[in-house]
Amino acid sequence: MTQIKSPYDVIVIGAGIGGLVCGCFLAKAGLKVLIAEQHHQPGGYCTSFRRRGFVFDAAAHSFGSCRENGNMRMILEALDLWKRIRVTRTVPSDIIVTPDHRITFWGSIDKTIAELQRAFPAEKKNIEKFINFLINSKAIDFAALRKKTYKNLLEEYFKDNKLMTILSLPVLGNGALPPSLICAFTGSKIFTEFILDGGYYPGKEMQALPDALVKRFRELGGELRLSCFVKKIRVKDNKASGVVLEKNGFIPSKYVVSNCDARQTFFKLLGKSIVQEEMLNKIDHMIPSLSTFILYVGIDKPFKSLPNPGTNVWFLPYYDLEKAYSSAKEGDIDKVEGFMVRFSPDKKTILAFVNAPFKNKTYWVRHKDKVMESFIKRIDQYVIPGLSNHIIYKEAATPHTLYHYTFNYQGAAYGWASTPAQLFTPELRQNTFIKRLYLTGHWTTQTQGIPGVAYVGMNTAKLILRRESSRRGVTT
């Protein structure tokens, strides 16, 4: 039997930021790449949508790590996209509001340190030491934080619970775990990359980021197919040999990269006939991160109490993040504690989100409006007085909505829960037990957030390219 000659070297499943970055680096090196995306829009959680003349960012609303030597900037520069995307930075990037503090995160880290020191004079030296550790450590030093929790790390530096809560709230928001559960590696990365170097925005809407990556990918000879559902990953002699598309059948390729939910990759796309029961059991027992409830509001006109456009405002009415996490996890989200709200850079809409449990579709059909009203009321009460009088459009995405559009298991916002026990699960690395099948994105247990998945996407491409260059001319 003659082997079918494939037009593709690599097929990437999923056009989220991880898949797009991976595809771009592979195409840039001259490989023929197909990205298959089930949705009609590229970007995964980094998309924008239009309703009644308003443009809303769907989930991701800004990103970090674009300082001079930041990973996100390095990636965009390597793909010749840094100037093209016109990334701008909002200053201040974040403001944390608690019953007796209002801490602003400035563009200048020294200014942020001074602000924290003014609010917590007894911790003056510790604040400097902690932030110095975060920004001046070598990348490899963060490896020493693998087994600790973020709480363990904070307690090495601080005594004041209020300060530790303030330094943990955006970590809960961007990592969906409280300080006692999130790994210090992830917690410190989130705080360093999202908060100390956060607030970046691509052009006029978040969709500009995936759109620019798609354009670049096509310029480099890549092919993106939207509304293209992958049914199976084919494996022959323990080597990935291509994918089966719902509409077009089998498409062979030399490598397959899965940027989609790991449960889908192992349970559905590969299945029991290929993956050992022990491994499926392990994945089945792993815990995904919490999902989020996202509120979208279109306003009639700008008014006085609105925050600075593009600044993320975090609000917590008490100093107990374990309690905030428990209420989110158990679905007690009428209380909507520990949320983030921002006025959009185009000054027309408001986006707010809070961690939320998956539940099911029926639950959210029944509770969505109630949760939305309660959320608006709290934003009006604590952050933007008068908001209710200016609303001309409102909508919300529930955890089920997130699942519906992205197929992320249980609408998980950040892939697997980043606990020390789950982080770096050996079975879910970029290299898999199947030759030529790679994983990338936030389901690898290594990373989360836009800079994180972009970085892992680039690294997955590098692994494939190294394999290609070392095997060139050798039939395997």
């Binding site: 990348a139 693998r146 590696f185 982080l423 692994l463």
Partner: protein, 82 residues
């Protein structure tokens, strides 16, 4: 178990570099592009392969392949002695 051979195989698998490209004096960060994520992956793989516990504080101290092998041998000796 050939510790040297196994460690080089782990580093090759995680870094993507070929076994032939990895020498005892290879600098993990400078030559093999090992970052914090890859360093942790190497530590996890060593723990799984040799049934030892890698102390987190030891990871950033490792610069070369040789040091990584010595560290693992040290863990194995301690494990054998206990």
């Amino acid at each position: 178990m050939d510790v040297k051979k196994e460690i080089i195989a782990i580093i090759a698998d995680v870094s993507g570099f070929d076994i032939e490209e990895i020498t005892l004096d290879s600098d993990l960060v400078k030559d093999l592009e090992v970052d914090s994520i890859k360093a942790i992956e190497i530590a996890v793989a060593i723990e799984k392969k040799f049934k030892v516990s890698v102390r987190d504080e030891d990871i950033p101290k490792i610069t070369t392949t040789k040091q990584m092998i010595a560290l693992t041998e040290n863990y194995l000796t301690k494990k054998g002695a206990s």
